[in-house]
């Protein structure tokens, strides 16, 4: 390759010609002491709490402690290059991260700087790291499902869009696997995923990114990594940064998003480290007093925003976000109940708002000049899957109890189940989803109604049966059914099931069609049956997928197909 000297010279000349000399005005302070990711700064007397500052070596910092004569700053970068007496500049802005569509498919650090070697991320959008969670009025109940593709979870511990569901368990029990499967299952859907890796090995994260890439999941996923060798301030801000990047899609585009924080115990530990270094008083387990707020303010940002409708002139663009164009009811908030707007701007909120807007439209004399408009930036959601690692199954430690009490339910993974081959190793007895039930699709709700209690009862019976006592036939039947359901709910990693497969599979189990099969044949039969449905009865699968319901007529047809298929399969198997 040859360089053309003229060309380079002309580029530089051009740049110099366009360069406008400006006087650089800044507020500065001096580093008094520095170490372990923390610096104390003299000066910066006008600095705000949470403000971003810049060190002489280019590292960013965040103002944490405002003291009488100095400022405590956490360093978000290389603190080994900072020396006593170095200059520190205010930026006048709170810490913020780049966001927007340009980040999708990228692997970045918590400040939004690329880690994947794919070059600069060019985006005009930035969002502050800390953002106050929306209040009651702006929210809407969780009613749409967020399918994980894992049979055991979608049937018994369903997750809704906007929910916060904790994944908790000892090390090596498959916590990350559940989160990753959920991300993989969003393929082809409308959900933007953000995976935040906190304090993990770089090799683990690299493997994970590769897995997402090969499955095509990076097309809708942002990966944020603060590895275990990164300074603790970076690990501390990582989940907030992930939430900020998801919030762009949530608030600006009204999209559904999914945030995985893997894991928050490590984040709490890095927060403990920097709090102790800043000499904040330690509390229980040496965590600082505000460690609850650390997680509650993060998880409160998960939200299902309300839908907003309005009656607008017919020529309004379909993607219009201009609320001022709404036609207001003349009586405004005093209008009759069935056409009363939900705010003074004439907007109608939430699903029932659509009906009211339609009623208002119908009441207008020149209604063919107007239409009901749904604002495209309303109705977004952020679902959070925080991960907590317990020690020796100790869920009553400080951080686990905190996060359990903040979230809307937890998926509890047990090492005993994991090593017994029950994977995902979900303990259904103590796993719950407090709001997800409303978000389940009807078909799933119908077939999985009593599944959780039945399985829990089976676990009790199983323990009893091990005593070797003679069992009555009813109990024996319950045991057989439970054993086969456990087999049926096992699922390999990275193989999320589509909704229809989940329904058909669980329907087969709860319908008792597996009771006469040997337990070790259940998985094989299930696979063959699902293939049979896909190949021979696509109309059933389609009906199920489209409607999401399971009327009796359809259930009968499914039963018939299974009955016909079973002897055929048994004959083949022998």
């Amino acid at each position: 390759m040859r360089f053309k000297v003229d060309e380079i010279t002309s580029v530089i000349t051009e740049e110099i010609r366009q360069f406008r000399s400006t006087v650089d005005l800044a507020q500065v302070g001096k580093v008094l002491e520095v170490g372990d990711g923390i610096a104390r700064i003299y000066g910066l007397s006008n600095a705000m709490a949470g403000e971003q500052v810049t060190f002489a070596n280019g590292a960013a910092g965040q103002v944490f402690n405002l003291e009488e004569n100095s400022v405590g700053v956490v360093i978000l970068g290389d603190y080994l290059g900072i020396r006593e007496g170095d200059e520190v500049r205010r930026t006048g802005e709170l810490l913020s991260v780049p966001c927007g569509p340009a980040l999708i498919g990228r692997v970045v650090d918590p400040l939004g700087r690329p880690l994947d070697g794919k070059g600069v991320i060019e985006t005009p959008h930035r969002r502050p790291l800390e953002w106050k969670a929306p209040g009651i009025a702006e929210r809407q109940p969780v009613t749409e499902p967020l399918l994980t593709g894992i049979k055991a979870i979608d049937s018994m511990i369903p997750i809704g869009r906007g929910q916060r569901e904790l994944i908790i368990g000892d090390r090596k029990t498959g916590k990350t696997a559940i989160a990753i499967d959920t991300i993989l299952n969003q393929k082809g859907g409308d959900v933007i995923c953000v995976y935040v890796a906190i304090g993990q090995k770089e090799s683990t994260v690299a493997g994970l990114v590769e897995r997402l890439r090969s499955a095509g999941a990076l097309d809708y996923t942002i990966v944020i990594s603060a590895g275990s060798s990164d300074p603790s301030p970076l690990q501390y801000i990582a989940p907030y940064s992930g939430a900020a990047m998801a919030e762009y899609f949530l608030y600006s585009e009204g999209k559904a998003t999914l945030c995985v924080y893997d894991d928050l115990s490590k984040q709490a530990q890095s927060y403990r480290q920097l709090s102790l270094l800043l000499r904040r008083p330690p509390g229980r387990e040496a965590y600082p007093g505000d460690v609850f707020y650390l997680h509650s303010r993060l998880l409160e940002r998960s939200v299902k925003m309300r839908d907003e409708y309005a009656v607008v002139p017919k020529d309004t663009a379909a993607d219009s976000r201009e609320r001022k164009g709404a036609v207001k009811h003349p009586q405004s908030l005093a209008a009759p109940e069935d056409v009363r707007p939900d705010d003074a701007f004439g907007l109608y909120h939430r699903p029932h708002g659509k009906k009211k807007a339609e009623a208002f439209l119908a009441s207008l004399p020149d209604q063919d000049k107007y239409r009901v408009h749904r604002f495209p930036d309303s109705g977004g959601s952020m679902t959070a899957l925080p991960v907590i690692e317990t020690l020796e199954g100790e869920v009553s430690a400080y951080i686990p109890t905190n996060v359990i009490s903040i979230t809307d339910g937890q998926i509890y993974l047990e090492p005993d189940l994991f090593f017994a081959g029950v994977r995902p190793a979900v303990n259904v007895g103590i796993s719950v989803s407090r709001v997800g039930g409303n978000a389940q699709r009807k078909a799933m709700k119908k077939i999985s109604g009593s599944l959780r209690l039945d399985l829990a009862a089976f676990r009790d019976l199983e323990a009893f049966a091990q005593l070797g006592t003679e069992l009555d036939p009813a109990t024996q039947r319950q045991l057989d059914r439970g054993l086969r359901m456990v087999e049926l709910l096992k699922q390999p990693q990275y193989q999320p099931y589509p909704f229809t497969d989940e329904v058909l599979s669980i329907f087969t189990g709860t319908g008792g069609f597996l009771d006469d099969l040997p337990a070790n044949q259940v998985a094989k039969f299930e696979l063959a049956l699902l293939k049979h449905f896909r190949d021979e009865h696509p109309e059933i699968v389609k009906e199920l997928a489209d409607k999401g319901e399971l009327p009796d007529a359809l259930a009968d047809r499914i039963r018939q197909v299974i009955r016909d298929f079973k002897p055929h399969w048994q004959g083949k198997a022998q």
Partner: protein
Amino acid sequence: MASLDDKHLAVARIYSLAILDLAERQGIADAVGEDLQELARYVAQNHEFADFLGSPLIDAAERQAAIEKILRGRVSDLLVDALQVVNRKERMILVPAIAETYRQELRDRRGRVDVFVKTPVELPAGLRDKLRQAVVHFTGKQPELVEKVDPKLLGGMVVQIGDDKIDASVFSQLKTLSEALLQRASQEIVRGTPYAGE
């Protein structure tokens, strides 16, 4: 010896305010300030003296006699008495901090402000007056210029008043320019578009 950290400065401020109030009443605030600065400088240079002041191993009575012998007659009585009070409270370690807070407080009361000026060559006299006027205009306070020559700046000057720093040096402008060039180059590499030219 005591560093000028937060806790020391906070305590020292209380002592220095008391001393300053008394000195102003006697009309010797500036003289006391200079004496305190002198003392602080001596402490900073002489580690043994610093240890003598700060060490809890030395009896307060012994120190009292020593202070009397060294300082009485050489500095104002007010300052000697004040130091004796500080000694009785076992706070002699605060002397540098007291000197610093005294200086700051006196400066603020006199409506003066420290202005640090860095230039590549000695500041010409005409420019110095202009700078003073500019600072008075900018802050409404009388500047106390602290000048420093730094040939690295190449041209222009850097002025710092309190936390505000005004950098109009050629050095920093060249740095900005080089950053702009680098930024542009890296963006072009990423986009894969060569320079289009005119």
